[in-house]
């Protein structure tokens, strides 16, 4: 219960930070990405504030043996830069540049009740679901080949859950 309250508080604080920082105004976001036009550098200050603050605080936090309500800190040992990482980031950036919304600001802006925002969030969830389907199909095909059997779509596989 306390863990949920803390997560809710963190989400609320995150939303207020995005809002006063300018990320929930797509005109500002597109102005920041428009480096060859009338460039608005203010979101660089948001990045600097967020990265700087978290860089300092997380160094203090990870000295603890474990988080307050969880058994361990996340294991982030993966360091390989692969095609998935670069390709995913590239697609993400194109979508971000098309409408000026990334996931956090889109969810925060839902409160405005604009139909286009509801559409954006629905499409974003559909994109995430599409990824799950695509990944499951790939895993299934690889296993099918390896096991010498026909690929089956809906079969649950070990190792596909993040």
């Amino acid at each position: 219960m306390k863990a949920m309250l803390l997560a809710g508080l963190a989400g609320l604080l995150f939303a207020v930070g995005l809002g006063i920082g300018g990320m929930t105004d797509p005109a500002r976001v597109l102005g920041f990405l428009d480096v060859t036009g009338d460039w608005d550098p203010s979101l660089l200050f948001l990045m600097a504030g967020a990265v700087g603050t978290h860089a300092v605080l997380r160094r203090l936090i990870v000295h603890r043996p474990r988080p307050v309500f969880a058994p361990a800190f996340p294991n982030l040992s993966q360091t390989r830069v692969d095609r998935r990482l670069v390709g995913g980031a590239a697609l993400f950036g194109i979508g971000w540049g098309l409408a000026g919304y990334c996931p956090g600001p889109a969810l925060v802006s839902l409160a405005k009740g604009a139909p286009l925002l509801v559409l954006f969030v629905a499409a974003m969830l559909a994109g995430m679901a599409l990824f799950r389907g695509w990944e499951a199909a790939r895993t299934s095909m690889r296993r099918g080949t390896a096991d010498g059997e026909q690929p089956t779509g809906g079969r649950p596989h070990a190792g596909t859950t993040p």
Partner: protein
């Protein structure tokens, strides 16, 4: 307050929020990851995600009540472009294991190589997209 200072202050709040989530819940404040994890719910792993996203939406409602100009109107009016953008943001963030929050804030603050590469790539393709839309096609 100068917009640069407001942005800096907003960034500090985001950094504090990400730190609270790490300190108390042991989680990375990556919004695409938190949201994506709800599509394949695992037992015992749903509550904090719903609470965090609920906090985000509630925060948006508070902004609408006290600082309504913070939440801008969509800059694009074409439903087709908005839907395509949402699909790319959703698919791309899962394929690339993160978005502006997970890679751009938490990962870069940690000095993670993958996050620094991902952030560089999505800022670059975002800038390229705006360049094409605004200066080559004259739209948006």
């Amino acid at each position: 307050m100068h917009p640069f200072l407001l942005s800096l202050l907003g960034g500090v709040l985001i950094g504090v929020s990400a730190s609270l989530l790490l300190l108390f819940n042991g989680r990375i404040a990556g919004i695409s990851g938190i949201t994506g994890g709800l599509l394949t719910p695992a037992s015992g792993d749903v509550g904090w995600r719903v609470a965090f996203i609920g906090g985000l939406v509630l925060g948006g409602a508070l902004l609408m009540a006290f600082l309504p100009r913070a939440i801008g109107a969509p800059a694009v009016s074409s439903a087709g472009v908005v839907a395509l953008a949402g699909l790319l943001v959703g698919f791309g963030s899962r394929l690339g294991s993160g978005c502006t929050s997970g890679h751009g804030v938490c990962g870069v603050a940690r000095g993670g190589k993958r996050s620094i590469v991902a952030t560089t790539v999505f800022v670059a393709t975002g800038m390229g997209t705006v360049f094409v839309m605004r200066h080559l096609m004259g739209g948006a």
